[in-house]
């Protein structure tokens, strides 16, 4: 069925025979601010390269496409041995026990957001807008919606519903599959 697409054409010689777009399938199961970035960066980049992309949000990952929870995504200070000190010159990480103190999660999140802003990183809402603009398909796992107490109306526009068979169908035809 496939003809003349065994070899990726040199970018110097592009014709109508350019191969089928590659496909990226992502499962996103984490709902912290730092874990929201890798899938959205990969997905938007792939889509900008012409790839066909689908993201399946499940469990805590649903928070990334939750209208109310998405703006409140946080960095976990508890059980995070990589938690850096507020001032980068301090040469040690924050002891994990300290991360359990009240207010630490808010402080850690504020700190991370300030670093992201200084580094000029796109925000999560910006990346979600780009994802929609580039036609990335976003699916909420309808099985875990109920588990996580999320109703259909809680989700941002453009998110559809699908389950494991739909993911596997897409992933089976994909070039790259990542579980994040």
């Amino acid at each position: 069925m496939k003809t003349n697409i065994d070899v990726i054409p040199d970018s110097q010689v592009v014709s109508d025979e350019f191969p089928e777009p590659k496909r990226l399938a992502l499962i996103v199961s984490k709902g912290t601010l730092d874990q929201a970035y890798p899938p959205l960066v990969m997905a938007t980049t792939a889509a900008s390269m012409g790839w066909d992309v689908a993201i399946f949000f499940t469990f805590y990952g649903l928070d990334i496409v939750h209208k109310d929870r998405m703006p409140k995504l946080s960095v976990s200070a508890v059980g995070n041995p990589a938690m850096p000190p507020p001032m980068r010159k301090v040469p040690f990480h924050i002891p994990t026990l300290v991360g359990a103190l009240p207010g630490m999660e808010g402080a850690a999140t504020k700190m991370m957001k300030s670093w992201m802003s200084k580094a000029n990183l796109a925000t999560i809402p910006e990346l979600l807008d780009i994802a929609k603009e580039l036609g990335i398909r976003m699916y909420a796992c309808n099985t875990t919606l109920n588990v996580m107490g999320v109703s259909n109306d809680d989700l941002i526009d453009g998110v559809e519903f699908a389950g494991a068979p739909a993911f596997l169908d897409f992933a089976g035809e994909s070039d790259v599959q990542l579980f994040i």
Binding site: V14, V41, T45
Partner: protein, 79 residues
Amino acid sequence: MGSAEVVSQVDARGLVCPMPTIRLGQAIRKVEIGQLVEVWTDDPGSKENMTAWCKNTGHELVEHSGDDTAFVYVVKRSR
């Protein structure tokens, strides 16, 4: 390059991955096939990123220049 000329400039300086290539993608869709888009960036990983982006999209990286801190890429819309 003959008659091809830069018709669109993307100033991605200060932006980090993935934004330079996202902005390039947005710009290239607005120009005609054969026309050139110029991207300015200070992303140190941009050479690898731009090369990979062009390889995947089928557009042609016709020129790149820069020192260690600032880079200019010229990409021709090829399809």
